[in-house]
């Protein structure tokens, strides 16, 4: 069975055109608000705005929050551990990008 929509769907680039609210980030990642709040205080996510109801998350938070969810749920890593794992993964990504610039595979 296959269905097809006739008009191409128009997407919005999350990283450039959108800021997600706390609720939207929770819906997109299936993380509880409680977890997201903890990650913000742990420095895993850095939203704009002061109070949780004013928080606006960038697209980068979407990727980090999904990863944080997995680390928390399946590997049972606590919030400081999640923060550390994400920092290390970021560093590996930076180094890999540098290798790539130099033309290494």
């Amino acid at each position: 069975m296959s269905t097809k929509d006739s008009q191409p769907a128009q997407g919005t680039i999350v990283e450039e055109e959108l800021h997600l609210t706390l609720l939207e980030l929770c819906q997109a990642t299936r993380a509880s608000q409680e977890y997201v709040v903890t990650w913000v205080y742990e420095g895993v996510l850095e939203p704009l705005g002061q109070a949780p109801e004013d928080w606006r998350f960038t697209g980068e938070s979407l990727r980090r929050a999904r990863l944080a969810c997995w680390l928390t749920r399946d590997l049972e890593i606590n919030p400081p551990g999640v923060a550390m794992a994400l920092d290390l993964l970021d560093e590996i990504a930076t180094l890999q990008a540098r290798l790539q610039r130099l033309g290494e595979p």
């Binding site: 296959s2 008009q7 680039i13 819906q27 997109a28 299936r30 990008a97 790539q100």
Partner: protein, 311 residues
């Protein structure tokens, strides 16, 4: 639909303890998580692990699966026997939201496998869905349309669940970069009752390119030069994802010199830059006249490339 042997996924015997299952899952999941492992098949492997773990970590699901699974082998054609899960209570518990499940999993354990009587009434927003889409670097320069295929669980009149394929044409905006997400409002899971549909998030990735390397919005290309081109300067036609451009190579360009073409990277505000990285290609000396040319070079230069080496 094929039967899936979740124990085989973990390489564990059926009698494995819950602790062994947890330990094995964690070990394999750490290895295959797509943010850690860049192999092409890591993501598929990681999904399989997640699905197997969703069943085996839950004693109730595992017991129901074991009771039925004794009679099947991996890859066999499979239909769930009627009332295979009689006496177990796990359907639609929502505990597995977020895993990208196979048809096999959906039919047995999926939220959509709820029988009519069990279905909760009321209204709820559909879940947000996630998928990955690979585009060519050129698509990011020009914008493109991509047809992607999504799997959606569908319940038939008898309450059987199958995964239907849904084609969705998506317009890829110019200037999108690898790792960014597109949000397609209302293209996620349909809502229940009068609830609104969820959104679909597409993560963008680039297909590997034989010539160009990408870092964020900047694009790199190796530019091979003959020794005399590098020494004397020249003008070359350089391919870029947006079309070729004429590039002047200054005299005395050493290997590794980066020539920046401002704004010729991935379009945007600001656009990225394109870097041509000079490399030197030495022509082999085969014929007599080619050998003579190299000898003339040797005579003309007082040049020792190993002058900095001691001893």
């Amino acid at each position: 639909m094929k039967f899936k042997d979740y124990y085989e996924t973990f390489g564990l015997p059926r009698g494995a303890t819950q602790d062994e299952i947890k330990r094995t899952y964690r070990k394999l999941a750490r290895k295959y998580h797509p943010d850690v492992n860049k192999d092409a098949d890591a993501e598929a492997r990681f999904k399989e692990l997640g699905e197997a773990y969703a069943v085996l970590k839950d004693p109730e699901k595992r017991a129901a699966y074991d009771q039925m699974g004794n009679q099947w082998k991996a890859g066999q054609d499979f239909q769930p026997p009627p009332d295979w899960d009689a006496g177990f209570e796990f359907r639609g518990d929502g505990a597995d939201d977020g895993i990208d499940a196979s048809e096999f999993f959906e039919a047995l354990f999926g939220r959509h496998a709820n029988r009519a009587g069990h279905r909760s009434s009321g209204h709820a927003r559909g879940e947000d869905h996630h998928a990955k889409v690979l585009i060519d670097l050129e698509d990011a320069y020009r914008g493109a349309e991509r047809s992607i295929s999504l799997r959606v669980p569908v319940v038939d009149a008898q309450g059987h669940v199958t995964l239907a394929e849904r084609r969705l044409d998506v317009s890829i905006p110019k200037g999108v970069r690898a790792g960014q997400h597109l949000r397609l409002a209302g293209q996620g899971e349909p809502g229940r009752g009068n609830g609104p549909a969820g959104d679909l998030y597409l993560e963008i990735g680039f297909n590997p390119h034989p010539q160009f390397r990408v870092d964020g919005r900047d694009v790199f290309i190796d530019l091979p030069l003959a020794p005399w081109e590098a020494a004397l300067g020249c003008s070359v036609s350089l391919p870029t994802p947006g079309g070729s451009v004429q590039l002047t190579i200054p005299a005395g360009s050493a290997a590794g010199r980066r020539l920046r073409l401002r704004g010729k990277g991935i379009p945007g505000n600001p656009p990225g830059d394109l870097y041509a990285v000079a490399t030197l290609s030495l022509p082999p000396a085969t014929s007599d006249s080619e050998k003579a040319a190299y000898r003339t070079l040797a005579d003309a230069f007082d040049f020792n490339p190993r002058a900095h080496m001691k001893g």
